[in-house]
Every structure is written in structure tokens, then in C-alpha cells.
Amino acid sequence: MANGTTGNAWALRLFEWVDSRFPLSALWKEHLSEYYAPKNFNFWYYFGSLSLLVLVLQTITGIFLTMNYKPDATLAFASVEYIMREVPWGWLIRYLHSTGASAFFICVYLHMFRALLYGSYRKPRELLWLVGVLIFLSLMAEAFFGYLLPWGQMSYWGAQVIVNLFGAIPFVGEDLAIWIRGDYVVSDATLNRFFALHVAALPLVLVGLVVVHILALHDEHVGSNNPDGIEIKKNKDPVTGIPRDAIPFHPYYTVKDIFGAMVFLLVFSVIVFFAPELGGYFLEHNNFIPADPLKTPSHIAPVWYFTPYYSVLRATTDELKWVIGAAVAVFMLWAYLRYRRRTGGLVIFGFRLSLPTSIGMVLLVIGAVLFWLLVVLEAKVWGVLLMGASVVIFAFLPWLDRSPVKSIRYKGWMYKLALAVFAIAFIVLGYLGMQVPTPTATRIAQVSMIAYFAFFLLMPWYTSIDKTKPPPERLT
């Protein structure tokens, strides 16, 4: 590094000055040049670094938007159009940000799907996965708060609908909804606080969680998973201590991810420059009508990335309550029978709970309470609960998957089928969430929703009986 011109010598001296006061080279080594990653990352492994790229893009474009945006109910809509028309390059910044929001979810959903393919959430990466679920939740909050800011009809009524959901919570709901809005309806007060949360609070949380996510990944006992789902750290070179199937992240994955970033930016630019509304999926048509608290649109739909969960909410009808009730009853009975068979204790999801003998009584009480809740709580409350559950349930994956292997490459047909059904159910729910509900559509959504939850709740069962292939010793 030192040989060469005086310029380089100066740079070297500056570097050494900094490095003796800050762990610059140590950090570089730990996270890049001496972070050893499996050498067989495939297509699915681009979406982690791409998510990070979009986070940076959203932060930078967001800062410039903030310079010209007015968080005021009477000015907000016009200020966005001011950015689009009068601010130099404002239209580009705004389209990068609005397209970036959707791109963020595309990258994160594919990043999560990768984990489902290769079992990246399994031991020892449970905490990494949990932090990831927190990032996902924060991202949803960030997107939700941000969507109010253009102050169009969909911004306004979307926020109204979602905040009203909190009103469905028994006893405290109404007060909670007012506390969130700062008013009895979504208003200027709501816009101001959502702006604060969108530009300050949640970005801080997101960046913090992303740092924790990367630290958890780069921990010496963890490291990246791979498409074979085997632990490369079990086979280290005795001399160097480096896993035999690993390559340093820098330069191998840095150059590879730069290539991935260019392909991503190419596709991204096609949308930004030629179809920024993407036919109403990325920018909804109705959001070009300024918010009007007195005119409820006939059809309110959130942006595409929320629609799978919105579908779950809408599909929870009074009828479906009894399906849930029946499912709970069957599950209780199954758990009880399983307990009777193995006398060690109550077994739920493979966990052995040592409880007193009258376990049937306990189940009966729980069942009765659930039944009582089914009768008492209206469908809307169950809808809210199930919508929340459909997001949070991802957090339980590390403990639901009982398969002896991690990767789909060595799992049996049951998991492959389950994952395919889940992916289709997710997309069907997402599609239906954008459409006007009809009786048939609601029925399809209910079936999809059951498939969605079955993927998770039946996982301990089907992954433990599925026929797996033995994974290889080394990466393939």
C-alpha cells in the first residue's frame, strides 16, 4: 500500500493516524475482508445487500424531500406537487422515494423467502431472524406513516381505516385510537406526528436494527447460511482456522453484490422513468385527489405490500370465527391425545410441558375461555388479531420447523408443497386485498388465509414426518 507517489504516502499516514485512534482496519476486516461467507450463494442471496441499498436510497431521497415538503394538512398535497413541478429534480427524487418504498418491500419479501427456502432462521440464527422480523415490523410502520404524508384520499382513508382497527380492541380501543391520531379523526395533528415518526423515529429504529441484524449475522458463532443449509464452520482449515468452503466477503461478494445492485438499479430505473405509478400499484390513482374528510372513497385499498394482511382482516367474517373455533377445538383435542399417549407431560409443538395430571381440565378451561371470546368478540376484533398474527407468526419459525435438515434441497415433498401453497396463498391474498370484495372473493381469501396459517401451525407436524435426504458434508 505504501509504495508509490507522495499522495499515497499522505493517504497512508492519514489512515494510520485514524487507525491508531479508531478500529478502522479492525472493522473492515471483521465485516468485509475477513468475514468468511459460503462460496455458493445464489440468486436469492442478493436481496440482503439490495435491501440495504434501498434503505440508503430512501434515507437520502427522504432527506431531500423533507427540505421541500410541508407537514400541514392545508399545504401537504400542494407541497408534493410543488416538489414534482418546481423543485429542480424534485420529480426524480420523489419518484425514487415512492418507487423505493415498493422496492424495499420486494427486496425484503424475497429476502424472507430465501430464509424459508434454505432454513436461514434455524439454530444458531434464531436471534438474527427475530431481529429481522423486528426490522420487517418497523418497515411496515415506516411505510404506513409515510403513506399519509402526500395527503391524498388513499393516504387519508387508509390511515383512517388502519387507526380505527385499534378502536376494535375491547375496553381501551377507542381511547387508544384517539391517542394515536391526536384527534377524533385523522387530521393535521395526525399528519404532524406521522411526519415526525416517519422522518425521525422509525428511521433511527430501522438503522439501529439493521446494525444489530448485521452484527448478529457476523458473530463468530453464527455467520451466513447457504443454499445447502449446512454449517461451514464445522469444517475449518486447521492451519488458518478459516472454513474450507468459505471465501472472504470482500472482494468476492462485494463485486458480486455490486453487479446485483446494477441489475437492480436497471429494473428500478425502468419503473422510475417509464412507469412510476406502475398502473396504480406503486402510486394509487385515488391518491391524486386531495384528502377530503367528508368524502369516503367507495373503495379503500392499501398499497400492494400491505394487501395480504388487509385480506386477512377482511376475510375474518362471523362465519370464519366458527372455523377458527373448530380448528382450536381440534387442536386442543389433538394436543390432549398426544399428551395421553406420552405420559411425560403436555406436548405442544413438540415442547414437553410438565404440568399436573388434570391436564384435560386445563385444556377445557382454555377452550372455554376461547369459546367465550369467540362469542363475545365481534369478527372485526378477530380480524385485527389475525391480521397481527399473520405478521408476527414469522417470529416463531425457528421453533416451528422440526426438520432435521435446513435447506429445501434436502427436505421432502411435504415442505416443498407447503411452501408452494404458502407462496400462492400470500400472492392470492395480496391480489384480493386490492380488489372490491365479493362473496366469491371473500371465500377464496378465507381458503387462502387458512392455507397461510396452516403453513406455520402445521409445520411442527409435517416437517417432523417429512422424508428428508441427507445433506452433504461439504457445499455443493
Binding site: K39, A78, E81, Y82, M84, R85, W91, L92, Y95, L117, I247, P251, Y252, V255, K256, I258, F259, M262, V263, L265, L266, S269, V270, V272, F273, F274, P276, E277, G279, G280, Y281, E284, H285, N286, F288, I289, P290, S298, H299, A301, W304, I408, R409, W413, K416, L419, A420, A423, I424, I427, V428, G430, Y431, M434, Q435, V436
Partner: protein, 256 residues
């Protein structure tokens, strides 16, 4: 490998989703038009119709008169022919009517039209402008199939003339009458020109087209520039995709 099959299923579902989210005006078939923002004459004609017929009740307050320079118009041309509601060319296209008065007179404030084309879409606007018909049962005496009982009367009626809604027997393509399940002839609602206006049907269709073209342009005056720049960006990124791909190949040469 089953992953491929999963991907195929995902692609099929994505295709199903590509038919699009819902837009306003369900149930009425909209006329399909192709706007052309490079047709400056059409945009100028649309601008003229807009300031003469729309910009009295509707504002376009997010657009400055000076933006019309982009339609190959000089400041003098704009001031003399198009600027009736402002003194300076840098001022927005506002109107004199106050929202409170509008509310008292029409029971609603006529919407600002700056981005109406982005909310409604060109097809909807084009159909709406051409399908007003006489209906004695509404307060204005006009009705419209794409927006039932509009508060707005048919402002362009002197150009288009007066249409009426007639029920005609539906026929198949070769001219045979269509019957419903009870054997009764099926009726179809059809608009007919009862009294012609100053313009022929073809001329009026062009007026409506130019106006919609202008509204689409006004919804996002930068859109042509956006697409022009986009070509260069895509070109540059394509080069970078190839360069970085070969860079990756060089670095990965010895990884087996």
C-alpha cells in the same frame, strides 16, 4: 428441483395480478384513447378549450401560466390568448370563485384539475366529456353514464349539441335481435344526438381528445423529460451491468 416449479407458480400468480387494481367508474365501458404529448398543436388546442370552458369554475392552482411555455408558446401568446385569471405569467391558474361561494352555489367545490388526469385516467375523462345527455330528472338537466347525476352541467354542449339516452334493441353482429332468458328482446342504452351543436361529431371528439391530452400533460408536465432522461439512464446502467459482470467474473476466476 421443486424450487423451479414454485417459481413457475409464483410467475403465474404474478401474471394474474397484472390485470390491475380497480379504478373509479365500474360497470361502464370506457373509450380507449392513446394520448400524444408530442402533438403540440393538440396540446395548444386543449389549453385553449381548458382556459375558455373549464378554468372558470375549476382551478389548476398547482400549475403556473408560465408552464405553458413548454407548449411552444411565447409569453405574449400566453398573456393575450390564455391568461384571463392572473396578471403575471408566473402566477398559478387560480380562479376568482371562492370555495365558500362555490359550496353555497353548487353544494360542492369544483375539484382542482391540476392532477385530475392522474386520478381519473385519460380514458375516463374522454368518455365523460363525450357522454353527457339530456335528463330532465336531474337538477342541471344533464346526466352522464360514467358519473351519475353530476353537479357539473354539460359545459361543452354548444359544441357537441344535445344527446339523449335511447333504449334500442340489442342485436348480434350479423343483425339478429338478442333475447334474454325470458324470450324478451334485450334492450341496450344508447346515446343519440338529438340536436347538433356547432361542431360535427368528429370535430367534437377531437376537441375532447385535445382537452384530455392537455389535462394529461398538465398532470405531469415533466413526463416527456422524464422518459428522455430515462433512456440515457438505462443505457448507462446497461453498460455498468456488463462491466460489473465481467469484473465479477475476473475476481471469481479461481473460486471453484
Amino acid at each position: 428441483m421443486n424450487v423451479k416449479r414454485i417459481l413457475a407458480a409464483l410467475a403465474a400468480a404474478a401474471f394474474a395480478a397484472a390485470v390491475g387494481p380497480v379504478r373509479a367508474a365500474e360497470g361502464v365501458k370506457l373509450d380507449d384513447i392513446e394520448v400524444n404529448l408530442t402533438d403540440v398543436a393538440s396540446l395548444q388546442s386543449g389549453a385553449r378549450t381548458f382556459v375558455n370552458y373549464c378554468l372558470n369554475c375549476h382551478s389548476a392552482s398547482l400549475v403556473r401560466y408560465s408552464a405553458l411555455r413548454q407548449l411552444d408558446l411565447t409569453d405574449e401568446q400566453i398573456k393575450d390568448n390564455l391568461m384571463f385569471t392572473a396578471e403575471k405569467i408566473g402566477m398559478p391558474m387560480d380562479i376568482a370563485m371562492r370555495p365558500r361561494d362555490a359550496k353555497a352555489w353548487f353544494a360542492t367545490v369544483p375539484p382542482d384539475l391540476s392532477v385530475i388526469a392522474r386520478a381519473r385516467g385519460a380514458d375516463w375523462l374522454y368518455t365523460y366529456l363525450r357522454t353527457f345527455y339530456r335528463d330532465a330528472s336531474t337538477p342541471t338537466g344533464w346526466n352522464n353514464p360514467v358519473y351519475t347525476s353530476p353537479v357539473m352541467p354539460h359545459v361543452l354542449w354548444k359544441l357537441q349539441g344535445e344527446q339523449v339516452l335511447k333504449e334500442v334493441p340489442a342485436t348480434t353482429r350479423d343483425g339478429r335481435p338478442v333475447v334474454d332468458e325470458h324470450g324478451q328482446p334485450r334492450k341496450l342504452a344508447k346515446l343519440e344526438l338529438a340536436a347538433p351543436g356547432r361542431q360535427s361529431t368528429a370535430e367534437y371528439d377531437k376537441t375532447a381528445y385535445d382537452l384530455v391530452n392537455f389535462l394529461v400533460w398538465m398532470g405531469e408536465p415533466n413526463q416527456l423529460e422524464r422518459k428522455r432522461l430515462g433512456i440515457w439512464v438505462l443505457f448507462g446502467l446497461t453498460v455498468l451491468v456488463f462491466l460489473t459482470y465481467f469484473l465479477k467474473l475476473v475476481y471469481w476466476k479461481n473460486v471453484h
